[in-house]
Symmetry: C2
Subunit: 328 residues, 2 copies
DNA sequence: ATCATATTTGTAATCGATTACATTTTACAA
DNA sequence: TTGTAAAATGTAATCGATTACAAATATGAT
């Protein structure tokens, strides 16, 4: 691989001039530019990002932190981030933390080391203290999960209102016994969605019963299956279930389909609108988050932040998608 | 962020000595090492990867090329790659090409520019000529899709045999009219799976009928739905369907569930064993690929290749997973 | 105490780019 | 033709690490 010296030599100019051609500086004669371009072609030259980055201390790389790549919720957001990043000559590095602090550290250090220019965190398990620390000197954006009253800009939906509306819809359909399959309430979104759930129940004077609230450790299908099985074993079965994630809701559907006897049909409502949710049988009613758009915005916010601009947090609109799982 | 000079000054030694401590070189007095370590702690120093990489010309980054992150088939492989990479102090950069040559070029250049040390390509749409070119000077491994008789090492399963066995299973169940939902046959895996399908049919003297072979453009669910609808419109409906991907098979299941009248039950067989395939209703019979393991191996092969070792291609075992969609 | 040798530490070149500043070339007016 | 300002180009420092080689120090035998 040729370097800038060799191009300079081949073109009979100095390295500075080659660099000027590369960076479209103005003060280069068309004739000189041509010579350099010929040399670049001839030697099949590609400037080394390492040299450039070291000097400029920018890498044009953004990190995207997420707990696990296997949740389809993230893949749509990532698409948005990626497309926006590429359009602006950035690349993204997907960082799966597996919710392990050691991994998180690796990625934080990449930013400190100038190997990456900033971070978008979608990881609810992230160490907020460390992230706040990092955000003092480096651009950081939160996507989906965020910190109330915190200083890091975020893009998200209003989980409380969304959950409230979802549960209200279940009530309007005539359901009075509504269960909640929630994830771990150490996460803000989980607490907010529970709050929305409770607000709707209270508004309609329906009881909030502890045995109808099930908290799962993870969001995988299997945990939804497990949760639904528990609910079905109750003396008094609920007749509708609101799950805080489509993956959990799909697991719940699975448990329902799996031959366990139920006295009456049970309505299921999910959250996210992952592409899979229209493939289930029955198809899944859910609260749609504008995932792709959220990704795009998060990337734009990060780039603004990298330019030193002040960035405002954004709360995006959600939408109720009514499908078969609530039409019984 | 402190640099090595400041550490040296703070510890009262030279930068060379600091570097020796960082890289665990032997010839450092315990006393000196301690002083340096104190300085590193005191200034909260992290060595800059840029400086290090420039000098060593290695980035400890591996690129993973894939057409789209949204196919769950890839996510399991990526998990394997990522875990293996991290265990060896590498990081991975996920590169979605969207099957666009411009994007591909960006990533190829990152390798040429020393911003990444090698590539694992899982992208069937990759420009093989360019990849071969790249592989002359840089480590490259193919995962899943590969080039027959090519020089780039790969890890894959035997698609022809797998398809043959899958279809044979359908035949053994008593099905005589077996359709194939294939993807674009410009891909090797698609041609091989078709070959296996035809071999099984021939062996049992069953007719190969063109109208029972449907080629989709993409692997998304919707294309499976579409394909199945076409098959159901035929004068003579098949009584079993082999789809070359679980996503297509799940779409086919959806089409079946969607109220279209069929004369008789239709068996469905998929390929991959994505986690979702056990969540459908009915659950999906499929050919399991050892995706996680393939990812691990691909990463190991790439690292071997980066060390300059000669790497042998690997064909892994597949496995028939019998579930409800073929038990009617 | 002296010298040879082994061990530790320091100096300075190097990786490949960018860019402030210096120098050369060009253009044009007098 | 000469002088001057503007434009083009070159020189060399710089980013932050590693490492060959040189220098200094420690060790041990005589």
């Amino acid at each position: 691989m040729a370097n800038i010296q060799q191009i300079a030599q081949h073109a009979g100019v100095s390295v500075a001039t080659v660099s000027r051609v590369l960076n479209n500086a103005t003060s280069v004669t068309p004739e000189t530019r041509r010579k350099v371009e010929v040399a670049i072609k001839a030697l099949n030259y590609q400037p080394s990002m390492l040299g450039r980055n070291l000097r400029n201390s920018e890498s044009r790389l953004m990190l995207v932190l997420l707990p696990s790549i296997s949740n389809p919720f993230y893949t749509e957001i990532i698409n948005g981030i990626q497309n926006t990043a590429i359009a602006n000559n950035y690349n993204i590095l997907l960082c799966e933390t597996d919710s392990k602090p050691e991994r998180e550290n690796i990625y934080f250090n990449m930013v400190k080391n100038k190997l990456a220019d900033g971070i978008i965190s979608m990881d609810p398990t992230v160490n907020m203290q460390k992230l706040n620390e990092l955000s003092k000197d480096h651009p950081v954006i939160l996507c989906s999960e965020y910190e109330q009253g915190g200083s890091i800009p975020y893009v998200t939906v209003d989980s409380e209102v969304a959950a409230y509306q979802a549960v209200k819809h279940l009530i309007k359909l005539g359901n009075e016994k509504i269960a909640l399959i929630n994830s771990d309430e150490k996460f803000l979104y989980a607490r907010l969605r529970r709050a929305g759930y409770e607000r709707a129940l209270k508004e309609f004077k329906l009881p909030i019963r502890d045995e109808w609230i099930y908290n799962t450790k993870e969001l995988e299908f299997e945990h939804g299956v497990q949760a639904m099985r528990m609910l079905l074993q109750l003396e008094e079965q609920p007749n509708a279930v609101f799950a805080v994630s489509d993956t959990l809701a799909i697991g719940a559907l699975k448990a329902l389909n799996n031959g366990i006897k139920v006295d009456h049909p049970i309505a299921i409502m999910g959250f996210d609108n992952i592409s899979f949710s229209s493939m289930t049988n029955p198809t899944l009613t859910t609260v749609a988050q504008p995932m792709y758009k959220m990704g795009c915005l998060a990337a734009e916010m990060l780039m603004s932040s990298m330019k030193g601009e002040k960035v405002e947090s954004i709360v995006m609109d959600h939408e109720l998608i009514i499908r078969e799982s609530t039409m019984l």
